[in-house]
Symmetry: C2
Subunit: 110 residues, 2 copies
């Protein structure tokens, strides 16, 4: 159950476009904060704040290398979102088929 809310918190975190951009850059390669800030249209502290949110959402992890902190994606958080999405995707497909069948029956009823 800690996982269910985890997936939802992750979605909340990825709601912000800057955080999505950071997320995609970390997918390309793990990076330090200062390197992420270069190439982004926001200041370094802003990046730190975003990383904090992403970390709390279980989407990134970080390791220290000297004064630098190397951030990378956390497969666990992404996995949780993936499972959440998959289950809803399945329901959506079910509902879609059900609806199609129903429409078909109504066609026949005429």
């Amino acid at each position: 159950m800690a996982y269910k809310s985890g997936a939802l918190e992750s979605l909340g975190a990825l709601g912000d476009p800057t955080r999505r951009e950071i997320f995609e850059r970390l997918a390309a390669q793990p990076s330090a904060v200062v390197d992420l800030a270069r190439g982004l249209p926001v200041s370094r502290p802003a990046v730190s704040q975003h990383l904090k949110v992403l970390k709390q959402a279980g989407l990134v992890r970080e390791i220290s290398q000297g004064t630098r902190r190397i951030y990378s994606l956390d497969p666990r958080g992404i996995g949780a979102m993936r499972r959440w999405l998959d289950s809803h995707w399945a329901s959506a497909l079910d509902a879609f088929r059900q609806f199609a069948d129903q429409q078909h029956e109504e066609e026949l009823d005429r």
Copy 2:
């Protein structure tokens, strides 16, 4: 290209908790606006506004039944998000393994 940005737009749409709630209710069963509004802590127009966003994000579709509009999940939008997530999930796992290997090598170097 409308679809690549589609996955990102979907994430933006699901960033709001009320929209996630609506999304989950629609996953359970397709519903009319007035029925969604009952049981949610917001007014009916608010629900309409959320549905508009979800629809633009390709996450829901609606059909008319008299004056009612029955909303349901759209598998296509969910599928797009799923693919986006899967690709990043793969990168995350790669990076994770790479990092683990690297750490292991450094262990051996001592």
